[in-house]
Amino acid sequence: MSIKVIKPTAAFASLLPTEYLELVADGPYASPKTINDLGTFKEIIAEHPHCAGCGVALGVRLTVASLPAPADTLIVGTAGCSFFGLAQAALNYSCSAFGNQNAVASGLKRMLKIRYPDTDKDVVVLVGDGGIADIGLDLTLHSWFRREKIATIMVDNEVYGNTGGQESGMTQEGQVLNMAPKGKNFAKIPVFELARVSGCVYGARVTVASPKKIGRVVRKAILLAREVGPTYVQIYTPCPTNFKFPPQQTINIAKKAEEGYYSFQEFISDDAQAYWEKNFASSTM
């Protein structure tokens, strides 16, 4: 995207609300920013209607702040709490039927490759746990089987939050929630392992307690998806509203999880590793 697209025409510049001017002046488009720059630039998502302490809002904000090329990034989402903040994002965001995000992204990425052969148009899927692990599982796995060059990012709050707190496939076994009155009776779906088996060339599992790690793995996933193959990042984003903990506890809960079942993990294929060392090993990130 050239900056022209977001610069108001001189005749009307004075009439535009300030937020649009700020986006031009110190948005992340001209020179991509990272997690370390948070607070120094106008973020792609400046406001959202999520609940207080929402882990998903934080996960989405950190992800969007880590895009290597926000000017040429399109995000494909689906129903769920994630789409509230993303609906305010200052980049192309599409949302179709519940669960079809990876199918939509496949078509979108291939078309953009044809229309802009010499530009890396990053197509990033950014969606909740229900959208990927349950209703969208086959479309997600098949985009990986086909080696679609897209980065799939799950903000995992381990519950169907937007519909009022029902058990999802990513809910932990035994957890009592709506539609699991006696506690969920099967294990958290191993999407991270399935990603590896299905052909993802890079995968990372992280929590909102480690913003710097999120910045690194999201950037790496998107850059690798440009050339090598599909990539997957899974971010634990606790939900105070449906798990009934105080909003200010979100980071602590994520930290505790990171010390236990949600430990930081990465996998990378040989050809992805080779590509990374050749092209990006020098950069500090």
Binding site: A97, F98, D134, I135, G164, G169, M179, K182
Partner: protein, 381 residues
């Protein structure tokens, strides 16, 4: 869970001493299922249906239902429901809006396979753009799936119709699915007075061997049985068999008329049906019409009301009788396409002017004045 005793449906519906509660539509679903002797319920969340199926999950935990689980999406849930019904149990589920469309391929198979499934539809807008608000557009698509369609005006209807739906669906000469449709949010999420039977009463259990088709359990003949074999060999005989099969599904819906009348009293209700201007509506459009009629009568206008309770089978003859003296029929609806106006025009065969509207959609409410304007216009012509 309290000990329940089986009673005759007629007793549970008409004679049992009822207690009034101030509950939401979602809670009305729970109270109905608690008394419906349901074996199995399968759920998937979608606003505005989720609360109903949460509560059904809770009474499963209390012991009123033998089996309950959350599927991975609506198409999978409706397929599991089909598997359960073919296995010979009484099964319940619910969905709405986009969920109805995602599950859609399953509905005609339910009817074709003669599965007496009861499904509640909390109607909601269809994407795009996304709307979680009430809208009955999905009913337009459901009209030709072969399932029986009841439309609840309020939570009392919702409670009664779900219980009655099981009895209608499981009649051997009917034995096709019954959909109980109710407008999302307007009914599911608002409290209302609902008269319910004592909680220690329940419907008789479902007897799978009274079904017009074999049950898939290897315990009844014939053993060499596929449900359902595609009758597709490319010759006339297969086409004739397939056509006859479809006719039998239509016939099943026709046979349900007398059972619907027996349990619901009639396929429609009417008041002041000799008036020159008649309103014909279903769902919450009926409640809005009642308010408009109230104002119209204060202005000295003569207007009547027909509340349709069954949309499939459609009460064509009854509707003709109830609009015999009308010079205009007004059909208010909560959807863009006016599927009920189409049905009413087809039924009345242009013998009377049918005004297709007022219509609101996208989740908008319907101010009674919109209907009142229409009444005034028709009254003055």
């Amino acid at each position: 869970m309290i000990e329940q005793r089986v009673v005759a449906p007629e007793y549970l519906f008409n004679e049992a001493e009822r207690e009034e509660q101030f509950i939401t539509g979602s809670e009305a679903v729970r109270e109905a299922i608690k008394r419906a002797n349901v074996d199995m319920a399968i759920s998937y969340p979608i606003t505005p249906q989720s609360e109903s199926m949460h509560l059904v999950g809770d009474i499963y935990a209390e012991g009123y239902i033998k089996e309950y689980f959350r599927g991975e999406n609506e198409f999978a849930v409706m397929s599991s429901v089909a598997g359960a019904a073919m296995g010979g149990v009484r099964v319940f589920t619910a969905t709405g809006g986009p969920g109805t469309l995602r599950a859609f391929e399953a509905f005609p198979t339910w009817a074709g396979a003669r599965l007496p499934v009861v499904c509640a539809f909390m109607t909601r807008g269809i994407n795009s753009p996304l709307s979680i608000q009430p809208d009955t557009l999905e009913m337009a698509y459901m009209l030709d799936t072969g399932i029986i369609m009841l439309h609840a005006e309020n939570s009392q209807d919702l409670y009664d119709m779900i219980l009655q739906a099981f009895m209608i669906a499981e009649k051997p000469d009917v034995h096709i699915p019954v959909g109980v449709f109710v407008d999302g949010f307007f009914i599911t999420h608002t409290r209302d007075r609902v008269k319910i039977a004592p909680p220690d009463l329940k419907l008789p259990p479902y007897n799978p061997y009274s079904a017009p088709v074999p049950v898939m359990d290897m315990e009844n003949p014939p053993i060499r049985q596929m449900r359902d074999p595609f009758v597709m060999k490319s010759n006339f005989i297969s086409y004739a068999a397939h056509a006859s099969w479809q006719q039998e599904i239509l016939a099943a819906a026709e046979r349900s008329r007398r059972h619907i009348a027996h349990y619901l009293g009639n396929l429609l209700e009417a008041e002041n049906e000799t008036a020159p201007v008649m309103i014909v509506a279903s769902g919450t459009a009926v409640s809005q019409s009642r308010e408009a009629i109230e104002s119209a009568r204060q202005e000295g206008l003569d207007v009547g009301l027909v509340k349709l309770k069954s949309l499939r089978p459609f009460p064509t003859e009854e509707l003709k009788a109830m609009t015999a003296n009308a010079k205009a029929v007004i059909v208010p609806e909560f959807n863009r396409v006016g599927w009920l106006a189409r049905e009413v025009r087809a039924a009345l065969e242009a013998k009377v002017k049918v005004v297709g509207g007022p219509r609101v959609f996208g989740g908008m409410t319907m101010p009674p004045d919109l209907i009142l304007d229409e009444i005034r216009r028709c009254a003055n012509e």
